[in-house]
């Protein structure tokens, strides 16, 4: 049976999260953008949360509850509402990086126990995902970082860029080819812990248009040796037949995270609408009746546009929770939302006029922040190729 109502506990959790992120986190948004890092007192800010956030920096478990809808639907709601405050908040929770998702999807049981259960969950470590290189982003078959077996180590050489959280991660999952002649099949993932000799941070953070509080690092690997068992899906003795290998595994692990990025975009756009609505109502006297009618229609249309995006995202994540995930739906959610969100935020600025682009408000910042969402974790075009393939097969592309 169709229902478009979240369960009461998830609704309550979402509302509390949204109110808290707006009232306690948003006041630090401007400074985090200027400083290009999270607020120094981020721990104290997180301490004020009335609900569990899944914090990585506290000893007692602070796990985000899984509601009856399931893990992925709960996380969709989580990402929208935590980003409603601002984009600086969720990376502080230790899940800004996504390397652990690859471990979970591609690791052997022993690797999952060590790097997911132990380092990521129990020790609440930060992880990074290092796939992109200067020469490619979308076309992951172009990995030029190499891994060569030398006795009981893999020796990695290459440069990775735009790695979220890379400079501070406890470990980074690095994609490297062990056999260039084997194309995409030669690409493997390796766990490289921070401090491994030969692993250096060439640039801690890029100078970016938006999400400036996030760390976006360039990493260089020079004769960087890791033990054989750090190759995901393999042990020192050899491959584990039960686990997915290579690039494909990595990408499906990420597919389910894509709607979460759409949720992040929706959070920013909803925050923008909710910022301008009361301001406009207060200025209503300055509008002619026709123009005021136009403003009201716009507010309605923008809210409806976000609602469409939400439904797609919830549908995609429900299929994951029900055990029948669809890459197409996941791509549809991530493909549909970001550009509409850009338009919503831009239109909110235009409705206010010159004040809309002033740093007095956060609209201008959210307009900068939101642009990345149509680029990373698969660009808008890449999502359309995925959706197109569900109709046209390999012809689409």
């Amino acid at each position: 049976m169709y229902s478009q109502t979240l369960s009461k506990p998830l609704q309550d959790y979402s509302r509390q999260l949204r109110e808290w992120s707006a009232s306690e986190c948003r006041p630090y948004a401007r400074q985090a953008d200027i400083d290009k890092r999270r607020p120094d007192n981020w721990r104290e800010i997180l301490d004020t949360a009335p609900i569990p956030l899944g914090r990585a920096d506290v000893p007692e478990p602070d796990t985000v509850p899984t509601f009856e809808e399931g893990h992925w639907v709960s996380h969709f709601a989580f990402y929208e509402n935590i980003n409603y405050g601002d984009v600086w908040v969720h990376p502080t929770l230790g899940n800004g990086g996504i390397g652990h998702l690859v471990v979970q999807a591609m690791g052997t049981p022993a690797q999952i126990e060590k790097w997911y259960d132990d380092v990521f969950v129990a020790q609440r470590g930060d992880t990074g995902f290092a796939l992109t290189e200067p020469g490619f982003g979308s076309d992951t078959s172009q990995v030029s970082t190499t891994a060569v077996q030398d006795g009981d180590s893999w020796v990695i050489n290459g440069t990775k860029m735009y790695c979220t959280g890379g400079a501070f991660a406890d470990y980074v999952v690095v994609f490297a080819t062990i056999d260039k002649s084997n194309g995409a099949r030669g690409i493997n993932a390796f766990i490289v812990p921070r401090g491994t000799p030969g692993f250096t941070v060439a640039k801690e953070n890029e100078d970016k248009l938006g999400i400036r509080s996030w760390t976006t690092s360039e990493l260089v690997f020079t004769d960087c040796a890791v033990p054989l068992e750090n190759r995901l899906g393999w042990s020192a003795e050899g491959g584990d037949a039960q686990v997915g290998k290579g690039q494909g595994g990595a990408l499906s692990a990420l597919a389910w995270n894509r709607p979460n990025m759409a949720a992040m975009a929706i959070g920013l756009a909803q925050a923008s609408i909710d910022t301008v609505t009361p301001i406009l109502r207060g200025q209503r006297a300055g509008f002619t009746p026709q123009r005021w009618a136009a403003v009201e229609l716009d507010l309605e249309a923008m809210n409806a546009a976000l609602e469409r995006g939400r439904r797609l995202g919830y549908l995609a994540q429900t299929t994951v929770d029900q055990g029948a995930p669809s890459r197409t739906l996941s791509a549809a959610s991530k493909g549909y939302v970001p550009e509409t969100v850009e338009r919503v935020i831009r239109h909110c600025m235009q409705l206010l006029g010159p004040e809309g682009a002033s740093k007095e408000l956060l609209l201008e910042k959210w307009y900068r922040d939101c642009k990345i969402i149509d680029i990373f974790e698969g660009s808008g075009q890449v999502q359309r190729i995925v959706v197109g393939r569900s109709l046209l097969g390999r012809l689409a592309g």
Binding site: T132, G135, F136, G137, S138, D139, S141, Q142, Y162, E206, D207, K208, L209, G210, Q283, G286, T288, Q290, R291, A294, V295, L297, D298, A301, M302, A305, R308, E339, T340, E342, R343, V344, R346, H347, M349, Q350, L351, L352, G353, P354, E355, G356, A357, S358, K359, E360, E364, Y367, R368, K371, I372, D374, I375, F376, S379, G380, Q381, R384, I385, G397
Partner: protein, 371 residues
């Protein structure tokens, strides 16, 4: 007879402005943003080109371009850098208002403006949102030999630097649009401290509150014969909107060039329609928007004044919409690299949105989701 092809002279001026944009403005864009001002040497060189301050020859200037030439000049300077182009444009707009409509006494200012690059004027036009000139809430009322100017202007260029602020206001008694020439530091002028903006920092904009009493001779044109500024004010909006198109054009050219060199999936990304089509769309729309601005400039002389607000709002809102969409598509074309300050597309993305916030009429540019 219909002719929408620019003539040779217009093309030449456009080319000249484009090359000044490329050689002088573009290289200074990042410095101008960092400093929140046009670098001094750039300003002086731009001043020397004669394109920056339109003052008639009889007042010591290099002449006043006709409205179509202005449109072309602003667009093509903005192709170099929108912030510097708009700084020059809005400063020049003050001189232009004085030259076109000033009294003999007000013309006295022109010689200095035409010869001394450090002089600044400001035009205070915009209010809360893209409202047509006829609906401005700032008023001027004349009482005997005095006038009172009351209202708030938003994003006034050079608000703290200008020695003269030309404030556009409605005179409810006369039922007409007026300009009041307000000297810097006049009692009752309050520049609101500015917290910065999304872009266009070199324009040095700030909001200004006015509650000013001045001699009635401060009306542009003088107390006896205050000027009818309506058409020129509408042109100012159209010329400013041309900057959005220059920015858009530059952004898609840059993106197209990038797309010919960046390889993915075995080909330059420009070979994918997912990359080339958005740029092609932008190109078509820029052309259409430019013609709409041209059409609106012509219509200001052809159509009754009652229609001016609507046709200007429509043309300007469309141009700003094209500006924002084209610049987002340019960032998108570069992917992650477009998001990093190593490339200028992020600057154009911000600039186009900042321009669009100045003068988009909600009744003429409704929200549309990406379908």
């Amino acid at each position: 007879m219909m002719n929408l092809v620019p003539d040779e002279e217009l093309t030449e001026v456009g080319d000249l402005a484009r090359s000044i944009g490329a050689e002088l403005l573009a290289p200074a864009a990042r410095d101008a943003e960092r400093a929140g001002a046009v670098p001094d040497d750039v300003w002086r060189k731009l001043f020397e080109t004669g394109l920056a301050v339109p003052v008639p020859e009889e007042h010591g200037g290099g002449g006043v371009p006709d409205p179509m030439t202005m449109l072309t000049v602003v667009e093509n300077l903005a192709h170099g850098d929108p912030a510097i182009a708009l700084a020059a444009y809005w400063n020049g707009a003050g001189a232009l208002l004085l030259a076109e409509h000033g009294s003999t006494e007000q013309h006295q200012h022109l010689a200095a403006l035409a010869t001394q690059p450090e002089r600044r004027t400001a035009v205070a036009l915009h209010e809360g949102f893209g409202r047509g000139a006829a609906e401005l809430a700032t008023t001027v009322q004349v009482d005997g030999d005095h006038l009172r100017l009351v209202g708030t202007k938003r994003a006034v260029p050079f608000a703290s630097d200008a020695e003269l602020v030309l404030v556009v206001a409605t005179d409810p008694d006369a039922g007409a649009l007026r300009v009041v020439v307000v000297p810097a530091g006049a009692a009752g002028v309050t520049v609101v401290p500015d917290s910065g903006r999304l872009a266009l920092d070199a324009v040095r904009a700030a909001d200004v509150d006015f509650d000013v009493e001045l001699p009635a001779s401060a009306l542009l044109g003088g107390a006896e014969a205050p000027a009818d500024v309506e058409v020129l004010v509408q042109r100012l909006r159209l010329w400013a909107a041309a900057a959005a198109l220059g920015t858009a054009q530059r952004a898609i050219e840059y993106a197209a060039e990038y797309a010919t060199g960046r390889i993915a999936f075995g080909q330059p990304i420009g070979a994918f329609q997912g990359v080339s089509f958005p740029l092609a769309e932008a190109s078509m729309r820029i052309e259409a928007a430019r013609l709409e601005l041209v059409g609106a400039v012509l219509a200001l002389d052809e159509r009754p004044a009652t229609e001016h607000d609507d046709l200007v709002s429509l043309a300007a809102s469309y141009a700003y919409g094209v500006g924002t969409q084209s610049t987002r598509d340019a960032v998108q074309t570069l992917g992650g690299h477009g998001f990093i300050k190593d490339h200028p597309v992020e600057l154009w993305y911000r600039s186009a949105a900042a321009m669009a916030a100045l003068d988009t009429d909600p009744a003429r540019a409704p929200f549309s989701a990406r379908l």
